[in-house]
Amino acid sequence: MPSINATMSGDHRACDARFATAEGAAASGDWTQAAAEFAAFRDAMERHLKLEEEALFPAFEKHTGSAAGPTEAMRMEHAEMRDLFERLAAAAEARDGDEFLGLAETLNLLMQQHNMKEEQVLYVLMDESLGSEAESLLAALAH
């Protein structure tokens, strides 16, 4: 059975690929493609974030007995990412290349350091502590 870490890290990479395509399109001035690719990226990210916030984090919090701590910090960074999604969508709408690429650079750093914390620490702890529960969570993830 694949671990939470393997599954969720794989999802990170899939989102990254969409992000890079959207950014590349914006850099070459192809705004139709940039807007479409960005929308696809944002949808994929929303699914990923929701899955964490509504399934994985609560299960982990139940286990640790606390909603404070690492998951709280992750939720805060999710909110920061969503703000950048909003501004990126507006920049794509306005076809503002400098704004879009500057925001994209910022989002990439925020997203990647966030993923690093999850992949290096949080998912590892989840795999260790959730055990068999992880299986059902991952099954839910597949849908």
């Binding site: 890079a20 650079e105 910022t106």
Partner: protein, 429 residues
């Protein structure tokens, strides 16, 4: 289940890393000035007082300066545990490192044992504070990942470098003979191929895929490299210390250099396969850095196998590894770290919608200017290592220009941060 050490949100105050980052280019500028002042004497041989002074202005004043500041910043992210008393540790380590690097250079350049003694005390203090704080953080990690192992080995290599350096300082400052003159080989080897190389590799496994979206490093390389380098370095040190097994020292040196060539070439190949194709100064600095590391390692192989090869090659190895390798990678990293931290702390104060994006802190063209000037400096320094007269002055001028461009760029970013913070309504920090 409590995770007392696990605080994924922990970022130290912005002043913790920034004081290190803004000081570093000034030491690079000082190195360039000293290079111009001492002229070809810096390049007569590896261990002339002038060469040692210039080298330590770069390795302590620039490299260690940024590496210490960045490590205090990045440890919480990489291993999920904060450095205890980060603000006090940063304040003490920074002040002692500034005084120590300057006094050591003065001790060498002016032949003043008193300055060397002051340097031994202050540098010993700076690294002791830093090492205790980082070792404490590393023992508290929640997950013992490969990254934690890499950071632990890099930190251990730093501790060894410092002890070896203090032995050499006892010789220069107090006239106490070191236990072996092999220390003069061991100290730079642990500092460059140990501490610096292991830290760069440990960071590379995380940031090379993340900045440019490249495929990940092959797991055997990512996991095996730090351990292999550490063990080879220890074995090579023993061989160099005893010096009685013919060929062993050279064989181990070639293996070690081969390891670094593999790492550098792998990084370059991964970067060719990157998904993010937009031009990026950090990528250019990494490419200059990795090409330099591969070349330095190749020249080191030649020197190890053929001791009769010209001694000027030692200088070339030093220039390639230090200015071409470490200084380039560090410069590239700063152009991600500084704007990101600026944005991160600003949005914490003014809210995400009000915080300008990273490229407002520093645009692409000032960064690209630095890439070009720095590349000229590396090339000129390599040429000056082989033909010191009169190229040393060209090299000094180019290195000084690179330091000035970098200083200006970092100050622009820091000023933008301060201006934006002042404009913001007085909430939070």
């Amino acid at each position: 289940m409590q995770q007392p050490g696990l605080k994924l949100e922990q970022a130290p105050p912005i002043a913790v890393p920034f004081r290190f980052f803004l000081t570093a280019p000034l030491f690079l500028l000082a190195a360039a000035a000293l290079l111009a002042w001492s002229g070809a004497a810096s390049f007569d041989a590896r261990a002339t007082p002038a060469a040692l002074a210039v080298t330590h202005l770069v390795t302590l004043g620039y490299m260690a300066m940024v590496m210490l500041g960045a490590m205090l910043q990045i440890l919480p992210v990489l291993v999920g545990t904060p450095v205890p008393a980060a603000r006090a540790v940063a304040g003490a380590a920074h002040a002692l490192l500034v005084v120590g690097a300057a006094s050591l250079a003065a001790g060498f350049a002016l032949g003043q044992p008193l300055a060397t003694r002051a340097a031994a005390w202050t540098l010993g203090g700076a690294f002791a504070v830093f090492l205790v704080a980082v070792a404490t953080a590393l023992t508290r990690v929640a997950v013992r990942s490969a990254t934690v192992l890499g950071m632990t080995l890099a930190t251990a290599a730093l501790a060894i470098t410092v002890v070896l350096g203090l032995e050499l300082a006892a010789m220069h400052g107090w006239g106490i003979a070191p236990p072996s003159f092999a220390l003069r080989e061991l100290h730079p080897a642990w500092g460059l191929a140990g501490w610096t190389g292991l830290l760069v590799a440990g960071v590379a496994y995380q940031v090379v895929p993340m900045f440019q979206m490249t495929p990940p490093y092959p797991p055997p390389l990512a996991r095996g490299f730090p351990v292999a380098v550490f063990v080879l370095l220890a074995a090579w040190s023993a061989a160099a210390w005893h010096g009685d097994v013919p060929g062993l020292e050279a064989t181990l040196a070639v293996l070690l250099a081969g390891g670094y060539i593999t790492f550098a070439v792998t990084t370059l190949v991964l970067q060719i396969q990157r998904r993010r194709r937009i031009p990026d100064a950090t990528l250019a600095f990494w490419q200059i850095g990795m090409a330099s590391v591969a070349l330095a390692s190749a020249v080191w192989c030649v020197r190890a196998v053929r001791p009769e090869a010209p001694e000027a090659l030692d200088l070339l190895i030093g220039v390639l590894a230090i200015v071409g390798g470490a200084v380039s990678v560090i410069a590239g990293m700063l152009y991600k770290i500084v704007p990101f931290l600026g944005w991160f702390h600003l949005q914490a104060s003014v809210g995400p919608k009000g915080a300008p994006h990273m490229k407002k802190f520093l645009g692409d063209s000032p960064q690209q200017l630095h890439v070009r000037v720095h590349l000229v400096a590396v090339a000129a320094l390599c040429a000056a290592a082989l033909w010191p007269q009169p190229l040393v002055y060209v090299a000094a001028a180019a290195l000084g220009a690179s330091a000035l461009v970098q200083f200006r760029n970092l100050v622009l970013a820091a000023r933008f941060y301060r201006a934006e913070l002042a404009r913001a309504p007085a909430t939070g920090a």
